[in-house]
Symmetry: C2
Subunit: 430 residues, 2 copies
C-alpha cells in the first residue's frame, strides 16, 4: 500500500538517545512536554509484543511514542511484519476518536515515513489486566467499554454507513492482511494442532491440549469462526480488544493499540473482551493467599462482564433506533408505528445473532491464551504450576463449551452461569 522506496529512504529505528531530538522537532509534542528537550526524560518501556514504545516526560507533561519495527518484537527478526501496520493503527485511532470521543488516546503526531505515532501519555493509567489482577474495581469500566463497542461498531456498520463509503473503508484496511494473518494463525488454527509456537502449562495440561488437537467437533467450530473472520466485513473492529489493550484509572478508560483493525465480524471484538474478563474470573482463585479472599473481586468481574454485554446491547439498539442512516434495513421499508415495532423485533434477533458470534469468539480467545503462543498474565502470574493449570483447565472447559455449543448460550447470564460451574471443577491432575 505504501511505497517501499519511501520506507527505505526515510525509516530509521529510533533509539532512546535520539527520541528527544526527534520530539523537539514536533510542535505538538514540544508544547505538550514544555521546556527544553535537554530537560526531557525518555525511556523505552517496550511492553508491547510488536513495537517500540517510548515514554517522554517534560516539565509540563508527557507523550507516548509508538514506532513499528519491521518484525515481531516478541519473536525477533525471524518473523517479519510490515511497517504499514502503523498506518492502519493511525487510521483506526483517528476514526475511533471521532466515534467514541475520550475513549482512545489523543494522537499528537503521525509520521508515516518513520512509522510512528506520538500520543498523549496516559497517566496515571495502568493496563486494565494488571488492575484486574490487583483486584481493583473500576466503576466506569463497563459503561465506557460498552460505549466504545457500541459506537465504534454501529457507526462503521451497514446500519450507519452508505454502501459506497463502507466499501471504500473496507478497501482502506484491506492492506492490513499481515496482522489479520497473525489472528488467523494464532487464534483460529495453531492451538488446535501441533505448532512450534504453542505452549501450555506442562505437564498438567498435556492431555487436555492433546484432546483439543484431536477434537474434530471443536475444529469444525473454530473453522466456522475463522471463515466468519475471513469473510464477514460487518464493521471496523479493533481486532485485539483484550484487557491488555485497555488503560484505566478509576475515572477514565482508554482503548489502545488498534493495529489489528480491519472490517471484520463485530462479535470478535465483543467476544475478546468477554473472554478476557472470564479468564480473569477463572484465574482469580489462583491468586488467593487465603481461601475465598478474592471471591468478592470475582463477583465484581462477573457483574462487569454482564454489564458490558447488557449495556452494549442497549446502546447499540439505541443508536440503531436513532441513527439508522445506513443502507441496511432501510427505514422506508418499516414505516409508521407498526413498521417500527416489526423492525424492533428484528433488531432483537439481530442482536441475538451477534451474541451467538460473540460466544464463539469468546471461546476462541480463551483457548489461544492457554494453548497458543501468547499467554495472559492473569494465569502466568500464578506461580504454582498445578494451581495455574487448574485455573487454565477450567477456562478451557468453559471455552470448549462456548465454541461447540455456542447456540445454547442465548444470554450473557447463561455464559456467566457456565463460568461459575467451570470454577468449581476439579481437574483430574490436582
Amino acid at each position: 500500500m505504501k511505497g517501499s522506496r519511501q520506507e527505505a529512504d526515510s525509516y530509521r529505528r529510533l533509539s532512546q538517545a535520539d527520541l528527544a531530538t526527534y520530539l523537539a522537532a514536533v510542535p505538538s509534542a514540544r508544547k505538550r512536554l514544555g521546556g527544553e528537550s535537554s530537560g526531557w526524560s525518555v525511556r523505552e518501556v517496550g511492553d508491547g509484543n510488536l513495537n517500540l514504545v517510548f515514554i517522554a516526560k517534560g516539565p509540563k507533561g508527557g507523550v507516548a511514542v509508538k514506532q513499528a519495527l519491521p518484525f515481531v518484537r516478541l519473536v525477533g527478526e525471524s518473523w517479519p511484519l510490515p511497517l504499514s501496520r502503523v498506518d492502519y493503527e493511525h487510521l483506526a485511532l483517528t476514526q475511533q476518536a471521532q466515534l467514541a470521543p475520550g475513549l482512545v488516546p489523543e494522537v499528537l503526531h503521525f509520521d508515516e515515513a518513520m512509522k510512528l505515532i506520538v500520543m498523549e501519555l496516559l497517566e496515571p493509567h495502568i493496563i486494565l489486566r494488571r488492575g484486574l489482577i490487583a483486584g481493583t474495581r473500576y466503576p466506569r469500566l463497563a459503561e465506557d467499554l460498552a460505549v466504545f463497542l457500541a459506537r465504534t461498531l454501529f457507526f462503521t456498520s451497514d446500519l450507519a454507513l452508505q454502501a459506497a463509503e463502507k466499501k471504500e473503508r473496507i478497501a482502506a484496511f484491506a492492506g492490513n492482511h499481515a496482522l489479520c494473518k497473525i489472528t488467523e494463525d494464532l487464534i483460529f488454527t495453531d492451538p488446535y494442532r501441533l505448532a512450534e509456537q504453542n505452549r501450555w502449562t506442562e505437564p498438567y495440561l498435556n492431555s487436555i491440549a492433546e484432546g483439543f488437537r484431536a477434537d474434530l467437533d471443536l475444529h469444525v467450530a473454530i473453522s466456522r469462526l475463522k471463515l466468519k473472520f475471513l469473510s464477514s466485513a460487518e464493521a471496523m473492529i479493533h481486532g485485539d480488544l483484550h484487557t491488555g489493550s485497555v488503560m484505566v484509572t478509576p475515572d477514565d478508560t482508554r482503548v489502545i493499540d488498534p493495529e489489528f483493525a480491519f472490517y471484520g465480524p463485530m462479535g470478535f471484538d465483543v467476544g475478546a473482551l468477554i473472554a478476557n474478563f472470564l479468564m480473569n474470573f477463572l484465574a482469580n482463585e489462583g491468586h488467593e493467599k487465603n481461601q475465598g479472599e478474592r471471591e468478592d473481586h470475582g463477583e465484581w468481574v462477573l457483574e462487569t462482564t454482564q454489564e458490558i454485554c447488557r449495556r452494549f446491547r442497549a446502546k447499540f439498539l439505541e443508536l440503531w433506533r436513532s441513527h439508522a442512516k445506513g443502507d441496511a434495513y432501510p427505514t422506508c421499508l418499516f414505516p409508521g408505528a407498526l413498521g417500527e415495532a416489526r423492525l424492533d423485533i428484528e433488531r432483537q434477533h439481530y442482536m441475538d445473532r451477534l451474541f451467538q458470534d460473540t460466544v464463539g469468539f469468546a471461546g476462541a480467545k480463551i483457548v489461544r491464551r492457554i494453548l497458543g503462543l501468547a499467554h495472559n498474565i492473569d494465569f502466568e502470574w500464578i506461580e504454582d504450576k498445578a494451581r495455574r493449570a487448574t485455573c487454565e483447565a477450567r477456562a478451557l472447559r468453559l471455552a470448549r463449551e462456548l465454541l461447540v455449543n455456542a447456540s445454547s448460550f442465548t444470554s450473557i447470564e447463561a455464559v456467566i452461569a457456565a463460568a461459575r460451574v467451570a470454577a468449581w471443577w476439579k481437574p483430574g491432575f490436582t
Copy 2:
C-alpha cells in the same frame, strides 16, 4: 479508481460510423475480422440496458464491442453511472476466463481510456432467455452453468484463496459500488415500497403489489438478504447472472456481462439463475396457444433447474475435496481418514447454508422482475395482460414463500415442488 482527467481526455463515444476505423487499429480485431476495414459491416445492436454494443463482421469473422456510456442507457442521462464499470467487467471476465475456460467470451482487446472491450463475436449464439421462451432445449446447459458457478465461486472463496490475496481482490472490486448500489436499490429495496421506477401489470397485480409493500415479514426477509449482500464477501460473484446474461447454442454456453461483479455472497449468483429458470417455468403456460402444448418444455426447465443445483453442489464439493488451498477450514485441522470424514459432514452443512441463501436470493430476484423496474421478456412477451398477470402472480406467490420461509426449503426438490404448486394457483382476478 481511474483518473477522471484521463477519462475526460481520451474517452469519446464511438459511433457506428467510426467503429471500423477504431477496430482497424486494433491488431487482434483486425486479424479476427480479416480483409480491409472498408469491407467490414458494423451495427449497433444495443439490446443492453446500460451500454453501447456493436457487432462488426468481416470476411474472416466477427467481433463484439461493448462501450460504457456515462449513464444508464435504459433510462438516459438523468441516471449517471461511472464508466469505470468496464474496468471491473474486464477484470471479472479475465478472471472468469482463467477459472472457467471456454464459458465466457474471449477478450480480444481492452481499451481502458475509451472504456470499451472488444470480444469474440458469439455466433450463432442467442440469449438463453430467448431460447427458453422459444422452447429450445440445451443439453449442455445444466452442466456448463454448474461448472461456471462452482469454479468461479469456489476458486475466489476463502476455501481456495489465501487471506491476503482475497483481501486484495476484494479491494480491487470495492470501487464498483455504483453498480452494487443499483442492485441494492432495485432488488432489495424498491419493489417493497412506492418507488417511481416500479411497474407491474396493472390493474391485475395492484393488490398483490400493495400487499408486498405492506408485508413487514417480507420486508424483514429482504432486509436480511440486503445485509448479506452488503457485508458478506464470500467470493467474486457475477452479480447479474440471469438468463439474459447467458448466450447459448445447443453445443456451447457462455456467461456474459459481469459488470456487476464484486466480492459478495455466493447464493446471490446461484439464486439468480434458479429464479430465472423458475420464472421461465411459470411463464410457460402464458405462451401456450393450445393448452398443455408447452408442458414438456416446462418439465425440461424444471429438470434443468434441478440439475444445475445438484451438479453445482457436487462440483463445488469435489473442488473443495481436491483443491482446498485456502485459509478457511485448513486441512491440517482435519487429518487422516477420520478428519476427512468429519470435515465432509461440515462440507455438507456448508452447502446447506449456501442453499438457504440461494433460496432467499432466488425469491428476491423474482420479485424485482415483476414489481420493480427491470422486467423479463418471459412474462413481458405474454401479450394478454390477464394471462401474463396470472403467471406473474404465481411467481410472486412462490417468491414470497422462498423469501419468508427460506429455511423450510432444504433442497432444490422442495423449491421445485413449490413451483409446481404455484403453477396450479388461480389468482382471484382471473
